[in-house]
């Protein structure tokens, strides 16, 4: 435990486990190929998948390694408060997406999130969102790829370029060939491999620190102290590890930030659109909420274990930065065998994250940019071809981004932070447009634009030092809140001045306009009580509340 390099002692067996995984992933992609005949087969899996598959893919698409490594790092740095990112910062938004918003997304048969904006508002709104989404996905895929390469370099000693190419080519192959089915099936597989990799780390770690009570005692003696064991206590002020007031946590994280991410991010929503019917589509994010509830057990707890077992964790730079919490535990605790599984899990999570970006990108590029503005009225096969080319193009640009990121890693962090700003105004535009039928097409465009600029301005003023916030987190809460209010105000001002959309144009897109049929495509067996989206959602919410009790 001297921090002398992160290099893992991988043997032939561990590499065999990793290689077997690569072969399986490629095999899934090629085997999915025979199920592709139409563009919906390629981009939305023919809207044919069962809810448990789309639900696990939904959670997996978010379970990129940046998420796992980052949340373990947060666990080590901020302690138990990190669970807010799951229980209040994700679960309620996922339930809301499934129960309230999915009927409009799935029922209107739109093929993407930007397409909803085209039908609800107008083409400029659509184009603005389609382009910003496409650019963001490609750049974020590149950031993911770079992070994958960094970890492979540190853990396995692979050169950076080799890791970037290997990761990119595998993802490229299974999405180009197998389309969204290839991506989703692999995400389900990845979910289980990620869990199989993380559980042994947690179990051995807990044994090492003397179980849960031993861990709590050690955390009390660590630099986090008692505050590291409570989620809500101490949020009456900002004097807590996260530096966040409970109002900020509830409204900033729990409402604006998380609803923005989960409900309008097409890389997520796409998984639900590929479900086989309305009931399955609505259950997709709700089923995903259950794993999301318990994932902190294998991310936040290892973070705490690393805090108390790895001496010197939390350095500014070098091997002992918080981000290395999980890799350090792997190095110190796992023997060959489970070590191979854990490395495979980490690699799997990078691929899951990147594949979600790439499959979201190729769909939006093809349906929302190419078909809508460049080449209309071509045959369905033509658009599959464009989708495959877009996949290759997106991955190539992603590789380029990864190499740029290798030179300017800080800049890439900012780029990612920048794009996350787009979520809050987008969510505000969606939610107002979905529930206020009078909101006009022009109001949609101007409020989205103004909200985005407001979020951007807040961020830039903060970075330039003109406006002061206690932490980056506080900035993001406020930035998101300001963007939300801006959208609402602009919508309220512009709407009365502009022409409303005709009622029949809004059918199936806006609340109270009819056209949403929750039962039309119902399958035998969907009526059983334990498949009710509302009931499943309510149980998940209750669990989220109950889980808070022991760590209040």
């Amino acid at each position: 435990m001297d921090g002398a390099g992160l290099r893992l002692n991988m043997n032939v067996l561990d590499y065999g486990i990793l290689a077997l995984y690569f072969v399986t992933v490629l095999g899934v992609g090629f085997a999915a190929r025979r199920a592709i005949r139409t563009s919906v087969d390629f981009f939305l899996s023919g809207r044919s998948l069962p809810a448990w598959v789309t639900g696990l893919a939904f959670v997996s698409a978010n379970l990129g390694a940046l998420e796992i490594i980052g949340m373990a790092a947060n666990g080590a740095q901020y302690g138990i408060m990190t669970v807010h990112y799951y229980w209040i910062g994700a679960v309620p938004a996922m339930i809301f997406l499934g129960i309230v918003m999915m009927p409009f997304y799935y029922g209107s048969r739109v093929r993407s999130v930007p397409e909803y904006l085209r039908l609800r508002f107008n083409r400029p709104t659509h184009l603005l969102n389609a382009i910003s989404f496409a650019v963001a996905q490609v750049l974020i895929a590149g950031v993911n790829l770079y992070a994958l390469a960094l970890i492979m370099q540190a853990l396995l000693g692979w050169p950076l370029w080799l890791a970037i190419i290997v990761g990119a080519v595998i993802v490229l192959a299974y999405i180009t060939v197998g389309g969204l089915s290839g991506a989703i099936y692999n995400e389900v597989l990845q979910f289980f491999v990620i869990v199989a990799g993380l559980v042994p780390i947690t179990v051995i770690g807990l044994v090492k620190v003397g179980g849960w009570s031993g861990l709590m005692d050690s955390v009390r003696d660590s630099k986090l102290g008692e505050a590291g064991l409570h989620a809500w206590e101490g949020t009456g002020s900002t004097a807590n590890p996260l530096g966040a007031h409970w109002l900020g946590i509830v409204f900033g994280l729990g409402f604006v930030l998380s609803f923005g991410y989960w409900t309008t991010n097409f890389a997520e929503v796409q998984r639900a659109l590929s479900a086989k019917n309305m009931s399955a589509a609505r259950r997709t994010p709700i089923i995903a909420a259950y794993p999301k509830l318990v994932i902190p057990a294998v991310t936040v707890i290892p973070g705490l274990i690393a805090l108390v077992t790895v001496k010197g964790l939390g350095a500014e730079s070098g091997d002992l930065v918080y981000n290395n919490a999980i890799p350090l535990l792997m190095r110190d605790l796992l023997p060959n065998g489970v070590l191979g599984i854990a490395v495979t899990g980490l690699v799997a999570s990078f691929m899951a994250g990147m594949a979600a970006n790439v499959s979201g990108f190729n769909t939006v590029f093809t349906y929302d940019i190419w078909q809508a503005y460049v080449r209309k009225e071509r045959s369905d096969e033509y658009y599959i071809r464009i989708g495959r080319i877009a996949t290759v193009g997106g991955v190539v640009v992603g590789i380029g981004t990864a190499f740029i990121a290798a030179g300017f890693s800080n800049i890439m962090n900012y780029i990612q932070a920048l794009f996350s700003l787009f979520n809050a105004p987008l969510f505000a535009t969606f939610i107002i447009g979905m529930f206020w039928k009078r909101m006009s097409a022009l109001a949609g465009f101007w409020s989205l634009l103004a909200g985005t600029l407001a979020a951007l301005a807040t961020y830039l003023l903060y970075k330039a030092g003109v406006v002061h916030f206690n932490s980056d987190l506080e900035e993001s809460f406020w930035g998101a809140g300001i963007a939300f209010v801006t959208v609402a105000v602009v919508a309220a001002v512009v709407t009365p001045l502009t022409r409303p959309k005709r009622a029949e144009e809004l059918q199936g897109l806006v609340y109270g306009m009819g056209g949403v049929d929750l039962k039309g495509d119902v399958l035998a067996g969907d009526q059983v009580w334990w498949r009710s989206p509302v009931l499943l959602g309510a149980i998940a919410l209750v669990l989220a509340v109950l889980f808070y009790i022991p760590v209040f």
């Binding site: 486990i17 199920a35 592709i36 039908l119 089915s181 389900v188």
Partner: protein, 101 residues
């Protein structure tokens, strides 16, 4: 499902919906078979390694025979997936079945 086509009042959406009649999605294989297969193999490999783990490896894992336990758990999970797939194979829903509810 055909009853939706009339609601898609956008030409591009409607066109794509029409094409779905030709969909080959029903030919998609069952992912449970792949998950089950991979985890059975992982379980056997890691479990066997666990049987022959040396004292040094067990010490590293804080005295837990982690390879053995992880192997058994993965094997059990893999077999569960395979059994689930055998007992409840995917049946493509027929038209009457979809309406009968």
């Amino acid at each position: 499902m055909d009853q939706h086509s009339e609601r898609a009042n956008d030409p591009q959406v409607a066109e794509t919906e029409d094409e779905r009649k030709r969909s080959a999605a029903a030919r998609l294989f069952d992912i449970r078979r792949v998950i089950g297969g991979l985890f059975v193999v992982y379980g056997v490999i890691v479990g066997l390694v666990g049987l022959f783990d040396s004292a040094a490896e067990i010490d590293k894992a804080q005295g837990v025979r982690i390879n053995l336990w992880a192997g058994l758990a993965m094997l059990a999970f893999g077999l569960f997936m395979l059994a689930w797939q055998w007992l409840r194979p995917v049946v493509p829903p027929s038209a009457e079945e979809a309406r009968e509810v």
